[in-house]
Symmetry: C2
Subunit: 447 residues, 2 copies
């Protein structure tokens, strides 16, 4: 009897891993249920463009139901997953118990404040649409506040933008904010010279883009400096407060501190009580399953899976997540169809290259041994991202937003929404000083 | 000495009235300062398209600084106006005193709950971007909740959408929500048949679109009913609570009640202590000035100015506001240049026609004596709105969003953002019953 009914596959999280797993199960004789707290899949690599007012949230987010509309074995549930019972095989979500035969946990990552959660209120991260629009509103409000401010120190604090962490998110955001200040809003203000705004990128490690090769790091560093971004390497942030940060004993005044120093796995993983690797990631077996639970998999940023040969873990980038998602879908498909041995060959990550953009016509690209920068890299970056965004809402809308934004140096999404963040206006004295390493886990990144 | 310095013109509010006044002062030898609580001018007639997930906020909002970038006599201040001293001639805003020689108050309107402010939490209005995105999130979340709900009464309440007030906002929103349920999301859900969603438009008066002629009302009513909207005329809402409304002694269960029953003038007007007309509007003289203060003007939804011949007040539509804005700018320009008699001819409103759209290929148009409906009216509506939105961000983005949305019956901005509105999920028993008239002041509307 039990054999005759369809296998129930539950996927938790619809980031790159969860979504690509669901789609790869298209022809599998199984009931696929995807649970996410949001009703949309977010193209996270472009979230910094929302924070810097170039794109609207809807340009980079698409309803999950819409993506899976024609996949008839897939259902979608909007809700927060409250718990997982690996033994009894159910997930509790939105107040209901959802039983499964196969479980794919793809809950992603959250910002890592390295034990300083209290810094979050002053230095928001950039993991979701709400945070990105908050950062956008703060940035834009700061230019407004500077225009009205009589006190020079206060004005400088409004015109100083500090990004902590020089992974791809930090580098791209620093470049985009500098361009916003220099090219986009400069002519909008009468008193303030926004071109003098300082953008400071702070990195605890010795180079920017630590996940890339040293030549790309050097190239990106030169591009950032050419753009006017102040890059501080080997500098640890020891304190974040309402009016700035403390770094290497120096206090830098700023009402715009953005946290891009790293991520850790979603707390959902830790809640399972399984052995954790670096960054709170769950240690999985080579087939991405949880030890002792061949029917339960963890993929993406929440999984810790070192390469047996090199010891190097699968990186926390979207390519890692989506490749794991497709791999696990293949395993499940084979087993549901009664094919054995699908797991014999464990997951193997294929590095398809990396890229990061620093600004208009500035980027770095690594494709195998081919490393290059400049305009060619930027065009490659544009081409890839426009292609990937096809089917994402409306390529014409995104493309025309970008042409508008890049060619005319205007940005269409410069809206300050939500309430005024009164809290961040009140400077709070720094308390105890303690070091924060900024290179535990690299920020999630599209390769 | 005083004669040699430039006249200081302060404009409060950057809706249609304030913005068109500022632009009309382009060549005037004066310092123009425009103060608004938002950093953008909002094209309010299309806000219902944000609420119904067809457009993104940035598609219909543009930074004020960006609009006035090349107008060198204009400055912009982001801030809430806290008070006005008509005697000493200053405005207090963002903690500062701003002196003026000429004042233009164009603060607009707020939703009118007719003494039932407590209904706002259950039935948000649609006056700003925050409210529109809140309504969008609630709508979309309701379909999700219906999909998970086992109790039929609860499911019905999630799939019932009640719009109170059948002015242009109510009519357009009702049509757009019905289309969303029937054409856009229907195939996204596996369990729920969203096409059975009820959209109920409640109007206290005897017809929809009371500001238009009776033939247009009849035409719009037929279009709404053809679309499947339930229209209840002569029906007064006597109670709004967490799980629905009470209308004519009947309780209608709904987790989506939207308030479009009317507006009243911004409370800023009342704070001046001047005689008020209907809807809290300030009674102004034929030159739009405040009695006793020829240097202070009120325009748009906040002003009450009856036509001396007909007694009919200037309607609370964007054409009224922008015509008043241009008129006052002409008066100020003349006086600043020492030309006398500019006020001799008071403001005269020119009715340029009205239109409202009910849905794809359904609309009504009135141009003088020419009244028509159907596809021709809808094409006229589209043509006008696309034209008006030119320069608004990016006509290509809006146009492609619309083509996408209308031709493919998909909507790209279906994002649920912000926190889950826990409050509206808890039904609250209706307390005392009291009548609400729904036709005090018509909602602001583009002609």
């Amino acid at each position: 009897m039990a054999e005759s009914k369809q296998a129930r596959v539950v996927i938790v999280g619809c980031g790159f891993g969860g979504l690509f797993a669901a789609r790869a199960l298209k022809s599998t004789p199984a009931d696929v249920l995807i649970i996410d707290r949001n009703n949309y899949h977010l193209f996270q690599p472009l979230l910094y463009q929302v924070a810097s007012a170039a794109l609207s949230p809807a340009d980079i987010a698409r309803p999950i139901r819409s993506i899976l509309r024609d996949q008839h074995n897939a259902r979608v549930m909007l809700g927060e997953v409250e718990g997982v019972d690996l033994k009894e095989r159910w997930v509790s979500a939105a107040g209901a118990r959802v039983p499964y035969d196969y479980l794919l946990l793809a809950p992603g990552a959250v910002d890592n404040y390295f034990g300083h959660e209290e810094w979050r209120q002053f230095a928001p991260g950039m993991k979701d649409v709400e945070e990105a629009t908050l950062i956008r509103s703060r940035l834009l409000r700061s230019f407004e506040a500077a225009e009205l401010e009589a006190d020079p120190a206060e004005r400088d604090a409004h015109l100083t933008f500090i990004i902590v962490g020089a992974g791809p998110t930090g580098v791209e955001l620093a470049g985009a904010i500098k361009e916003l200040a220099v090219d986009v809003v400069a002519r909008d203000f009468r008193v303030t010279d926004t071109r003098k705004a300082r953008v400071i990128l702070i990195e605890a490690g010795p180079r920017v883009l630590p996940a890339l090769h040293t030549d790309s790091s050097a190239r990106a560093l030169a591009q950032l400096r050419a753009l006017g971004v102040e890059v501080r390497l080997g500098a640890s942030v020891t304190q974040v407060f309402g009016g700035g940060v403390e770094v290497g004993g120096e206090r830098l005044g700023s009402y715009n501190v953005i946290w891009a120093a790293g991520v850790r796995a979603s707390p959902l993983g830790a809640a399972l009580g399984m052995p954790l690797g670096p960054g709170g990631r769950i240690k999985v077996l080579p087939d991405c399953s949880i030890p002792g639970h061949p029917e339960a998999f963890v993929i993406g940023d929440a999984a810790y899976l070192p390469n047996p040969a090199t010891g190097q873990p699968v990186p926390g980038v979207s390519q890692g997540a989506l490749q794991m998602g497709r791999y696990v879908a293949r395993v499940i498909d084979a087993e549901v169809r009664g094919v054995r041995g699908a797991r014999a060959q464990g997951f193997h990550y294929r590095d398809k290259g990396s890229m990061a953009t620093v600004g208009k016509s500035r980027a770095v690209v690594e494709l195998g041994r081919l490393h290059f920068g400049g305009l060619a890299a930027w065009l490659a970056w544009m081409a890839l991202h426009v292609t990937v965004l096809i089917g994402f809402r409306n390529r014409l809308a995104v493309l025309s937003s970008w042409i508008y934004s890049y060619v005319f140096f205007r940005r269409g999404s410069r809206l300050i929404t939500g309430l005024a963040p009164a809290a961040i206006r009140r400077p709070i004295a720094p308390a105890t000083s303690s070091a924060a390493s900024a290179a535990d886990a690299p920020p999630a990144r599209d390769g």
